[in-house]
């Protein structure tokens, strides 16, 4: 274990986590107006119709797989009857299928970004940066699975990468666990960590607002009129001018209606 290892497998992940959480909080507090899926469907629909669902469904399956493989200890799965063999089969084949769907979807989305003029025009620098890391993460991840799980004898990341992540979560980082991990896995982890670090500053913020509660609310939403005057809320530094003898221009206690 040298300093570089500590930097990569301890400092960097914690910094990324801090950036991820603090970034989301700051953006949530100060940039509600900028918080959106940035849908480009009104520009182009033919590619998106296939690319986006393939990518997203694949991605959701991949995320589910990561939760099972990384966060849930092997013993717990054993306990409910999923032993190493079943796990390996499932992870390899379901995982490969999910990866394939994700990659196909992402390739369609990337072609669309580049080839459809309207979409290309609205692509920001941050979109490019995000796609670089997203693409790298997915590419290294897929490479690792194909190289070791499909073609190779199988690499037991549940004995190294998974406990390493849990050690980070439990605030008892164990750097040694990552030492012997194959390069493809290491690169996958590093690019993913970087992706998390920039996450809240990219279009990926939309993931946090999955509207699950839509399933449970009444159809029609009623809301009371804002109590302030005019179209916008008073903002700090923009208080309404005050007339002599009158103080709280900006706040009107909502008196009872006659």
């Amino acid at each position: 274990m040298n300093n570089l290892d500590v930097l990569i497998w301890v400092a960097f992940p914690y910094a990324a986590a801090a950036s991820f959480f603090i970034g989301h909080i700051i953006r949530y507090r100060y940039d509600q107006y900028g918080w959106t899926s940035r849908s480009s469907q009104t520009y182009e629909n033919k590619w998106l119709r296939w690319g986006s669902p393939l990518f997203h469904y694949g991605m959701l399956a991949v995320i589910a797989g990561h939760i099972i493989g990384l966060l849930i200890p092997r013993e717990w799965l054993d306990f409910i009857g999923i032993d190493d063999h079943i796990y390996h089969l499932g992870a390899t084949w379901l995982g490969t299928a999910a990866a394939a769907i994700t990659v196909i979807g992402m390739i369609l989305l990337l072609i669309r970004r580049g080839a459809v003029k309207r979409v290309f025009k609205v692509t920001t620098t941050m979109d490019v940066v995000m796609y670089v890391f997203l693409f790298a993460t997915i590419a290294f991840g897929t490479l690792a699975v194909v190289q070791f799980q499909v073609l190779g004898a199988g690499y037991d990341y549940r004995g190294s990468v998974s406990p390493w992540i849990r050690s980070l979560i439990l605030m008892q980082p164990n750097v040694a666990l990552m030492a012997g991990v194959p390069l493809a896995f290491q690169l996958h982890v590093i690019t993913a960590t970087a992706l998390f670090a920039i996450w809240p500053f990219t279009r990926l913020i939309h993931v946090l607002s999955v509207p699950i509660w839509y399933l449970f609310r009444p159809y029609v939403v009623y809301r009371s009129r804002d109590k302030h005057l005019g179209a916008r809320k008073p903002r700090p530094g923009w208080e309404r001018s005050v007339r002599p003898g009158q103080n709280e221009w900006a706040e009107y206690p909502h008196k009872e209606k006659v």
């Binding site: 107006y33 849908s39 469907q41 509207p211 939403v221 009371s224 009129r225 206690p253 209606k257």
Partner: protein, 555 residues
Amino acid sequence: MRVMAQMSMVMNLDKCIGCHTCSVTCKQTWTNREGVEYVWFNNVETRPGLGYPKRYEDQEQWKGGWVRTKRGRLKLKSGGRLKKLATIFSNPDLPTIDDYYEPWTYDYDMLTKAPQTKAGPVARPKSLITGENMDIKWSGNWDDNLGGSQETAHEDPILAHMSDHVRMEFENTFMFYLPRICEHCLNPSCVSACPSGAMYKREEDGIVLVDQDACRGWRMCVSSCPYKKVYFNHKTNKAEKCTLCYPLIEQGKPTICSETCVGRLRYLGLMLYDADRVLEAASVEDEHELLDAQRSVLLDPFDPEVIATAKAGGMADDWIEAAQASPIYKLIHDYQVALPLHPEYRTMPMVWYIPPLSPVVDIISNTGNDGEEIRNLFAAIDKLRIPVEYLAGLFTAGDVAPIEKSLKKLAAMRSYMRDINLGNPANENIANSVGMSGEQIEAMYRLLAIAKYEDRYVIPKAHVESAQDLEDFACSLNTDGGPGMGGPGETGGLRKTGRRVPGTPVAATVESFHSLKNLTDPSEPGEGRMNLLNWDGKGITNGMFPPPAVAGGTA
């Protein structure tokens, strides 16, 4: 019963001249920004025609509004909640920009900067989305005045439902304009489809709005509105829609489209409705019964029980009075001439229309007959199936009876009033033939034909009680009819005596429907200056000119 108030609109289509002033002033106010170049909160369509966006009325294609399931419940036509979430990654029913039109500008620079050449320079159209040269193929009103309709009119979804022979004949017989804004529905499918709950209906006045901070750009509202009146801002990636100019409405002023309407055909006022019965009414099985179902949800503002319930729910007295004075209530309930647009979408729209009689009159006149004679008119309404059926396709889910009834009332009004205008004795029989009295016909005539500003717009101010008081330095006794009535109030810090209260700035508030009268009532003598910004453009008001100099007096 849960009594709620709804700010509603009626448009009298007979008077629309298709000038698009409403669209333009609306655009200047709300959508003259990047990202919403293609957006028209108010648009005016020529019918028959495709509308904007193209063929928006074909719900088999766009899946807007609600459907009634076999079990009698309402479901979004585009699918239930789970399906909405499952298709969130790519909305299968979303119109693309081409279904509206690709917005463009012209390369005006070329006109002044081009070097001298044999041929004159041209300003080529440039796409506002890609910046490239483009061919203009469609726009918001491409088939205006039936332009190019021989190519496109057969695609009109309403015409498509009618027979072939109708389709061929149509163009020669019938044309009118249909101005459209958001319907501010009682059962809005846009609100119901919004996964983030960012869209809402305001409790106080029923205006449907998008919370720009809460919208996450899932763009489900855009496709779920059957009128396609929610738009996607492709710059901010948030949904935007007609706001019914709520900042004006809150001050008791009409919307921009109404205020600037050249035909003066728009009416604004409150309707009280029973929020508890909306869903039930929207779910009736027979589409032809939706009109009556919706009428039954709208409450009688004079009914003591309704008033008591409204008050118990916190509704202010002046709001109830406004509902009683509402021109909308008269047109929908008393005269029953106004009809909702596409009730079959089951969203319970609240912008209603008085169907146009003029095309019928024109047809009679073109044949050399008297187009205002009541028998001719009635016969034409009965015989001219094409216009009536077409109008039924728009306003009554295909039921011709209410259309005929409405048109006949308008016809009776024309004939009845013609006699009076020509100095002949009024013919009460004409009024009776449509189930009205001469008096009622004359009242309807005043509302529809004379259409005074203060009769068209009866808009109570929003209640921000203390703010209004402070702003206008109003006296607490300064209520309608109270001893302090007619104080400085809305005339902009002016006392009726004309003296400005020293130190008071001219208040920012402007006319409410009470003060409109004060402002324009020439019977009130007054001196003092008036604030021209508050002038409604009609007539000479107090204080507009200095008092006439007394002869021999000093200047």
